[in-house]
């Protein structure tokens, strides 16, 4: 099919419109997706930015108030499974300098939320290592590879 120039114009407008929509939407909605360690390294620059942070819930740091729906806990870097960190309890760092406090208000506590679970926190980074979260997502433990008896 030969296409006359004036129809290329119409098609071109649609293509440009789609491109423009994609561009502006990315500009307006993109969030950093970082690990706790990465947030640590660039904390000042990320101040006040919308973030998604992946980390592990520090044991003993969780407090849940069901009447005000306030969930507070700390997250620490997820240990590298390759480095022998299969047993999560011992491997989460106890160094408070590497942890972030998370406060999430107005959301029910997720079913799968528990100490030592890996979570994704959505929110903004505030002062003193605190993240005001709008949502806490838990990753499914079914991600485990079934234990192979050795």
């Amino acid at each position: 099919m030969r296409i006359k120039p004036r129809f290329l114009l119409g098609g071109g407008i649609i293509v440009l419109a789609v491109g423009y929509l994609i561009y502006t939407a990315i500009m307006n909605t993109a969030e950093y997706y970082l690990t706790v360690g990465e947030v640590q390294a660039r904390a000042t620059e990320l101040q006040g930015q919308p973030l998604r942070v992946a980390g592990r819930v520090v044991p003993g740091s969780v407090s849940w108030n069901p009447s005000s729906l306030t969930l507070a806990f700390s997250i620490a870097p997820i240990p590298d499974p390759q480095a022998g960190g299969v047993k999560p309890v011992s491997s989460v760092t106890s160094n408070p300098a590497q942890q972030f406090k998370v406060v999430c208000t107005g959301q029910p506590k997720p079913d799968m939320f528990a100490e030592n679970r890996d979570v994704i926190v959505e929110g903004r980074l505030g002062a003193d290592h605190a993240i005001a979260a709008t949502q806490v997502l838990t990753s499914c433990p079914s991600k485990y590879v079934p234990k192979k008896p050795s």
Binding site: M1, R2, I3, K4, F7, G10, G11, I14, V15, A17, V18, L21, I22, T24, A25, I26, N28, T29, A30, E31, Y32, Y33, L34, R52, W64, P66, S67, L69, G106, Q107, P108, K109, D111, M112, L137, S139, C140, P141, S142, K143, V145, P146, K148, P149
Partner: protein
Amino acid sequence: MAFIGQVALMLALVLAIYSIGANLYGARRGLPDLVASARHAVWAMCAMVALAMCALWSGLLQSDFSLEYVASYSSTTLPTIYKITALWGGQQGSLLLWTFLLTLFTAIVAYQSPRRNPELSPYVLAVMAGVAIFFLGMLNFVTRPFELLATVPREGTDLNPLLQNYWMAIHPPSLYTGYVSTTVPFAFGTAALITGRLDDAWIRSTRRWAIFSWFFLTLGNMFGARWAYEVLGWGGYWAWDPVENAAFMPWLVMTAYLHSVMIQERKDMLKVWNLALVGLAFGLTLFGTFITRSGVISSVHSFTQSGLGPFFMGFLITVVVLYTGLLLIRVGDLRSEAELESYLSREAAFLFNNLILVGIAFAVFWGTIFPVLSEAVRGVKITVGPPFFNKVNAPLGLALIFLTGVGPLIAWRRATFKNLVQSFGSPAVAGVATGLICLVAGIRAWYALAAFSLCAFTLTTVIAEFKRGVVARIHMVNETPPQALANLVAKNNRRYGGYIVHVGVLMAFVGIVASSFFKTEVKKSVKAGESFAVGPYQLKYLDLSDGDTAHVSTVTARVEVSRNGREVASLAPAKLFYKKPEQPATQVAIRSTPESDLYVVLAGIDDKSGLVTFDVFLTPMVFWLWAGGITMAIGTAFAMWPNAREREAIAMAARRRTSEVMALPIAPGGD
């Protein structure tokens, strides 16, 4: 059992390799016996994969934990129905199901197409066997469903609780059927490119396959959305998760193809475009499997990360390179005489509809791979979430609804002003009137106003089409109106089936817009006997009750729902705790009406204070999304149904061919 399954898969691979060779060699050298034997090999291959599937099922049903697959995805206490569905609960099993469907469709094509398309058939089967070789290779050497465990555990780790749901029985098979059947148009397109027989034969042969694929992709997406709605407990049905996107993109491309193919049939235009679309649809199904299986893109659907990624990537790149190469070689033969004459024409409307559909698919693709791209280019992982997809697709969706109204009615070639007024006068009035009514009713969100107006506009065009057809029959063949309507649809099932699908799309679109714009959520912690309000409803939490089986323990809350002081429903949201994987789950209670859904989640129980947390959503008109889905399925079923005219045409073509074959030995004087 494991041995039988393993051997069957190996034999299937051998048969696939044989069939590809015999088909190609037989067709090149004109050896009908070899081509026939290649066809038989295809049937044997299908039987072998079916046998392997039965072997795995038997292992699941007998809880044979010596099989790694059974030990990982089943348990002794798992209900029988989920032991059956566990076949596609894990990676190896779902690839086995995929392969089975592929070989089944290959077997069906091997049955149909030698009579209808003797020239293309061997190449089509060779392409399909080639795809089967890849999947069988994976099953035999990379991710083996019959892997044995050295020590046999006494109990299995059980199926993921989210998968222990009746949707598990129908959603994955539907979606896989839709995915895998895109292979058929792709194989025919490839065969047409290889042989240079670039007329409409490949399109005519795959028309029903394309609709079949679209039917199951539609159902698969709808079932998936409904599953998410019922099981995940967040009040929504679509989160633009990579896995959902992977199912949505082939659907978009197939939708585009089903429309552009009409332009090729009627006007002999868009030939290259159509071949590109079938290639794209097939490539996207591979891409979907790749992203869900490789762990490259993080998803809420947590699949076991595996080493499959590079293999799929490699296969995908091979397919794209070969197909694009073929298309470029043949592009000169695909020129068409006809050309676009006016913006105001059906050709143009269909072309723009195609551009927008592919544009949406591209936007979804871009958003899905953006984290990977940004990490590769800038070293930082940047994600885009649902807001990105909604922002991009909302205006494109409106344009698409508008074109849904315009496309079927506008004149071919060039519409005159009179034609436009005649066709679109009353729909435009209906659209504006609906907008004004919504405005008076208090709707101020401009997007919702525009969406409802456009839906009314398009709905009116469809009604006008039905009315015109019925009136014509009443006058011409003297039928009563119901007779006329029934015959109209029966005699032009593809066209009117399509209109029914359009109505379904409008219903779903209205449901999506209303439920996204006017949803309210109330989160509340209450003690037994306390009440709280959600919209016009009063919810009173009565008490908790416990249940316990070897498989799962349950805590159920009783919630009394009343409206204007009158009790309307009693709901029982529950929290479940699955014992084998030690995993909690939610059982949502939904009161669904065409007006709105009351969706109650038992979000938390605090033993210390006795407070129970409820998360309640009041979602208007979400009912219409599901009703629209059913309507789309019904319309597609109409369009797929073979009608008398088509059957005759096929029979005639077959008769013609048989007489040609019979005449052959005589014509050259025999041998």
